[in-house]
Amino acid sequence: MLEQQRSDAASQSPELKPDSTSGPSSQVHFDAVGGVDVDHATVPQSIPRALAGCWVAWSADGLSIVGSGTTLQDAAEAAMTAGETDPIFERAAGVLRR
């Protein structure tokens, strides 16, 4: 059952497939130990390369991209159009320093 849930989660988006040596996608478990808090953890959507340099609006839980634009205002309007009233904004910078 647990493996089935994991497979379902991974099949929702190609972004969830492992793409690095250390990403969590292949290791994310949706267990139910204690039945508290455990199944809230899902993997945030990856920012597509095409959005490098753009402003990205995330859903309030920080898991899904709900809009983007070349300016913060564009991203805000896209988020509003998508129905997200409480977005989090991020500038997709591409490769970052450590």
Partner: protein, 158 residues
Amino acid sequence: VMFPFRPCDVEPSPAHPSNRIWRPIVPIRIVGPSGTKRLFGLLDTGADETKLPMGVASDLGIEIDPQQPARFQGLAGQQAKGFYGKDVCFELRQGQKSYRWIIAKIAFLYDPPDANEEEKITITLGHVGFFRYFNVAFDHQRSRVKIRPNGLFRHHPG
């Protein structure tokens, strides 16, 4: 509450030969006199204090005290300057669970000239203002972080 680590693109290194690294970054809400703002917060156990970008103070109408300068120096010697503000409300929310608390004094820092975009938009959650009030378990196996309030946490009704 529990949050997944967030993917960040980085330059590969000998120790981490991938171009992606997963960091404990959580969505957090900042509340000021003239509004609220949602930001991503990096759980930084190496940071003594919680810090916010100076722009947040102006966006949310938070008064800063010019008599109380803030100066910080990172492990690599990088410096950041700004001023302290007071009584800033933070909220950590997931679903129906919500934790709100007040940080009596918090540093607002100007962006360093070489800051990248992520640094400009991500706040630092340090010991004063965050880890002091929460027990935090980093789970790298599952790439998630579990946060529970401790006995020092005092819920602010908002």
